[in-house]
């Protein structure tokens, strides 16, 4: 009979309408600025540079090897390598980035910089409220904006951060006995 198909469809709509009030696994609108869903641990947005200790300058793990700059598909990273060396968190003299800029208006959150970094120096952040009034300079994150303490990394990605810490501690333990033999070791940047 003509019309039964429409009635059947109406029954579906009615069931969904009632279900939207009483069903257990119904989806509810989250009232965003006041309420927030927890972000999944793997969530990624834009990169940041974790540093150890208290000083964002001294504790930065980046040695300005420029691998991420080279591999970045949209070319949004800009690094200027320092002329001098300064001791890193393991007291080994290393180059450091004099300038480290990420243009987040170009960045596409692909995480390739994190994957290619041999020093665990760049990680993905979860801050997403980044709207700015200006299109160019305000969306250029400089080294001071990018450097965030390791504790922050622990707070956003506890599992990954613990793994990274364990890996770095292991590497440090391996290097320590050899350190006196080669006090001014060459930067491992060329190894990659």
């Amino acid at each position: 009979m003509i019309g039964t198909g429409i009635l059947k469809g109406m029954a579906v709509t009615a069931r969904n309408f009632v279900g939207s009030y009483f069903e257990k696994d119904r989806l509810i609108t989250v009232q965003y600025p006041e309420e927030r869903n927890p972000l999944p641990e793997n969530y990624r947005n834009f990169p940041f540079l974790p540093y150890d200790g208290d000083d964002p300058e001294a504790g930065l793990r980046c040695v300005a090897c420029k691998i991420c700059e080279k591999e970045c598909p949209p070319q949004c990273i800009y690094i200027v390598k320092s002329e001098d060396k300064k001791p890193d968190y393991m007291d080994k003299p290393q180059f450091y980035p004099k300038v480290f800029n990420i243009d987040i208006s170009v960045c596409m959150s692909c995480q390739i910089c994190v994957e290619v970094c041999p020093f665990e120096a760049i990680k993905m952040d979860k801050v997403f409220e980044l709207s700015r009034r200006e299109r160019f300079d305000a969306l250029l994150l400089r080294k001071s904006d990018l450097a965030k303490p390791n504790e922050y990394y622990h707070s956003i990605c506890p599992t990954d951060a613990a793994e990274v810490d364990a890996k770095l501690a292991e590497a440090a333990a391996k290097k320590k006995p050899a350190a006196p033999a080669a006090p001014a070791a060459a930067p491992p940047a060329s190894a990659a």
């Binding site: 003509i2 198909g5 429409i6 469809g9 793997n42 969530y43 598909p73 995480q111």
Partner: protein, 388 residues
Amino acid sequence: MTATIQTLEPIERPPTTMGSRLEGELMEVSMGPQHPSTHGVFRMNVALEGEIVRKLKPVFGYLHRNHEKIGENTSYLGSMPYTDRLDYFCSMTNNWAYALSVEKLAGIEVPERAQYLRVILAELTRLQNHASLLGFLLSDMGAWGTPLMYAFREREKILDLFESLSGSRMMCDYMRFGGCRVDAGPDWMERAKKIVDLFPRFIDEMENLVVGNEIVIARTQNVGKLSAELAINAGITGPMLRACGVNYDVRKVDGYGFYPRFKFRIPLGEHGDTYDRLMMRALEMRESVGILKQALEQVPAGPIMNPKVKIRAFRPPVGEAYGRIEAPKGELGFYLISDGGTNPYRYRVRPPSFINLTVLEDLCLGHTVADVMVILGSVDIVMGEVDR
């Protein structure tokens, strides 16, 4: 003209056989690119005789960004996130097609667990693509909102799964040459199982909304008929081809990934009209649910990356390879030529929805303007892929 106009005869003829009642010049109408039913920025120059389409020329390129040139200027790994932006509804299958081609090019083996994860994610992608397509198509037909919102509700659950695994809802960038980037934990598997178990309920609902609905039947049956011969000759692939009754599914034919290990059937249409194309999606979703259940049962433990593959400075040997998979929209292929460098010498995407549009004019001729949108909706295009 000597024909007499029979004024007393009631007009009850379907649009395909409706003769030309208006005489005079054809009117050219530009449909799109801002038309909401063109699924992006797609334009058609339509020549109309009254309301009947007499000529239709698709106009492309509004979203063209020369993806292939970007691919030739980027390293092999660097192109992976760009493939997400091709068909932005199905980034997982895009990733897989590209990874498969590079694996063919460089002769890379993929571990078992990674293959299973790829199958799971590709089938989840198919589920959410087909679900939202049904929603869009009904929305194109005038069923504003309701079916689309139901479809998006299910899509949302699957996108949440993607987000918790890969870190992004749509731009997953999940697969790598020789495996996958992140491993799925047991709780992720549990969540996926739950969603897959509940999914048939949605398909039932959608079928109740669509299958018997008189309006849908009137709008879609016998509209946009495509013959099997033309479909094969015009390189139509995916659900659109199978709606014409041609049994050709790359999952079965090539048996890439671990698809030969799963039991599933290929739904086939009979008439090749819009209704068959619409039902094809609903039937394929059922088969996908079947594959997902098997895959989620069988997924073994183990590594997810081939340890031999270099991440930095990846250079496949000189040669060329064409790899293809059955993406939700059809056969998605990547043709790569390597000259031994870090960038591909030639990087070509075979976009299914672009080639499926070849027959758009043939489908629309003789139908009314309102049917054009329904036919276009049933082709299932995404402009990110059509224009690249």
